[in-house]
Amino acid sequence: MAKKFVGQSIKRTEDPRLIKGLGHYVDDIKLPETLHVAFVRSMYAHARVKEVDVSEAINAPGVVAVYTGADASALIGPVPCASALPDLKVPDHRVLATDKVYFVGHPIAAVVATNAYAARDAVDLIMVDYEELTPVVDVEEAAAEGGPFIHEKFGDNIAYKLTAGEGDIDAALAGADHVIKQRIVNQRLAPIAMEPRGVLARYLPGEEELTIWSSTQIPHLLRTQLALMIGMPENKLRVITPEVGGGFGSKLNVYAEEALLGWISMRLAKPVKWIETRRENMQATIHGRGQVGYLEIGCMNDGTLAGLRYNVFADLGAYYQLLTPAIPTLTGLMLSGCYKIPAIQINVTGVFTNKVATDAYRGAGRPEATYVVERALDLVAQELSMDVVEVRRKNFPAPEEFPFHTATGLFYDSGNYEGALKKALEMSDYAKLREEQAKARAEGRIVGIGVSTYVEICALGPSQAMPAGGWESATVRIEPTGKVTIMTGASPHGQGQETSFAQIAADELGVDIKDVTVIHGDTSIVQYGIGTFGSRATAVGGTAVFIAIQKLKEKAHKIASHLLQADATNVAFGESGFSLQKAKAAVASGVEVPEPDLPVGQAPAGALPEPETDGKHVTLQDVALAAHLAKDLPPDMEPGLSVTYFFEPKNFTFPFGTHIAVVEIDRETGDIKFQRYVAVDDCGKVINPMLVDGQIQGGIVQALGQALYEEVVYDEQGQLVTGTLMDYAIPKAAMLPHFELARTETPTDVNPLGVKGVGEAGTIGATPCIVNAVVDALAPFGVRHLDMPLKPETIWKLIH
């Protein structure tokens, strides 16, 4: 069947409600008698809480209740961490602080009031008596022996140590012609989804049902965890994820506030709502990155890579969130980049600090690795006076070497790194760029060209490698009226799967895209699912949809054959439904039968009609009707037309690409201006090119934010210096170049759609590209590495 929708830039079906302001994010859901929660949060990074005096607050106008750690913490289970690592020290993370506070923003008390204004007022009336303790802020100092220790019972601040990798790294580095060392920092970043977190909880005491509306990426996993934390049956707990205003990993989590709101609603038997302020979001929603590492890369004189070692201190924060300790392990997995490196070793030291937890932020460990590897390749090129492109090329595996085994233990599914590189070189006219750079340098201008050839790990992932299941589910149902309903366990939040999954279904079922509805984000409607993160929704969730449709078509085929009174092998599925195959039909009747115009099945106004067939054709809609009426089905056929499928991927996928940036630096001020930005990405087959471009562009901008502007800064006292959007700079439109995008398409056999995933590609590929460009610009000044964000002042100092 010809594909009408897949591969096309179909306008999103999500958009009409969103551009009219009619979508519903958590705070847009209004329930009668809702109470509002505001939090008292620690103003210190590290302190003993001697007393929390709530007496004035509890009597304040509108205040219904105040809960402290003493009230709630023993009754609600700990905030979960799903990462299991050998010898992992796990702090007891309660929903409210009890005896100590561990970071600025650590919740101490929850005020419940009749409206948000009264709740906020009462926060100021709660007196917390603190005894300040020495804060532990710097990750390397924290890892050193001797106190102070954040969790005293552990006797140090080391959460875990882990070594991974294959090959004899010592021998590899000893045998290399050159070994280059570099300290590399991936600074802490704040995800800043434009919609902060929010929770609305409603307990119905009669039904004994708790519904939690939360701005989350993982409704089902959240439900399971909250059921365990609150101690209620999972099947009495419903999580609804309405519109989610961006996540970027920050909502791939289970937060204290989610459990606490549910618990409060149960105690008060009223709906309760908490909407995070941006200031709270900066303090108490997870941060990303936060790695200080030491790279050693060994190479031969001809540029061949010999080995790579990365010793990294991961700044985990004071407590774990869902995946905190696991993120650096993803860094370890991706340290081979898109290169043949015979020996790789990562040594991770996970370190507690008096800060909020780090966890998954767009890319989640992989941008850190790619940054290290892509900086390493430039360091090698500089050391050997080779072109940065040549040194990369020299170490690429060829397309026929896939599946490609890395010394980090992965098998890359498919790749054509040279193909993407070549296209990017052509688009940017790389040779000419270098000529122009030489000319510019001769004129005294400071121009740099950055290249990054990246690979990423997507479509997370095989369940063996995932903490809580890596499959995804889909139900595809054709309703009696012929409309198609898809329920996906992936819970998108801006990625557009309501459209792209409908594209898949419309093509596979030969229906109009308007007749397909994609439902997600409600645990009482949708079968269990995993969620949207790790560039997995289409590759894993979309595949589940695709396979469910195939199974549904098999059943429909049987019903159709039955209705046509034909052998199934003589019935074919096409644009207009099931037909007796022409040749065979003609043979059967002895005369040539003209192709009739077939009516599309119409939803009846009143009672359901009978399925119709002219004996030669039956529409899918009529098959669906017949399946539901069940008056004339094949013997032993189960009625209905609905298939649920759980897809377990056999591997990750490994999208890749080449980014090239050209920058010019203002000699006087150190300002960086982009002249070009070219990105060639290969995410396998593309369902909707417009959506893929959107993911790439957004991803590049978050990378650019890390490279040039963003950094969560805590001062020596552990105070959050970048506590508002007036201090923490995320990119604005005018700071950005126009991106020139292109694609290559190397399918994967990991899933039948051939898609690889694209949500994190831009963020992974672009950060080192930009830094490489700036370092290249500054090479004549003897610069070989710079730490991010690349502030004009730093650059100015290097020039002068």
Binding site: K11, Y117, P196, F248, R278, Q495, T724
Partner: protein, 155 residues
């Protein structure tokens, strides 16, 4: 101390008694239940709360409702024309994939509409500069720029 407030919102006359500290954005969202106007920060930075006040794009989080007494306010819900005809900027955002999560979108659309009113055929640089009061974390802005170009052509 509550004060009486009257304003026209999306063409409908509204009257309420409000606390003077009630922010315009909360009046729209909580009192009038016009939840298309969003709150994305607490420092007047992000622009998600942008509405039109007497024809000018303003950040409704940085005004008390009482300051808008007697004014005419238009929110995203009132942005489409007669019979639900999309505004050219709304259309541009849909056509050009100018939104992903949609949270910044209402404010972005209202700011973009003001931009086109004042600069009917904006250059890319003018568009980017004109949207400096609106943050988007999803799109990387390029499709937003294209959406505004689309709308400028249509207008």
């Amino acid at each position: 101390m509550k004060m009486s407030l009257s304003m026209t919102v999306n063409g409908v006359a509204r009257e309420h008694e409000v606390e003077p500290r009630l922010l315009l954005v909360h009046y729209l969202r909580e009192v009038l239940n016009l939840t298309g106007t969003h709150v994305g920060c607490d420092t007047s930075t992000c622009g998600a709360c942008t509405v039109r006040l007497d024809g000018q794009a303003v950040k409704s989080c940085t005004m008390f409702a009482i300051q808008a007494d007697g004014s005419e306010v238009k929110t995203i819900e009132g942005f489409a024309g007669e019979g639900g005809q999309l505004h050219p900027v709304q259309e541009g955002f849909w056509e050009c994939h100018g939104l992903q999560c949609g949270y910044c979108t209402p404010g972005m659309i209202i700011a973009a509409a003001q931009l086109i009113e004042r600069t009917p055929q904006p250059t890319e640089a003018q568009i980017r500069h004109g949207l400096e009061g609106n943050l988007c974390r999803c799109t990387g802005y390029q499709h937003i720029v294209e959406a505004v170009q689309y709308a400028a052509k249509k207008s």
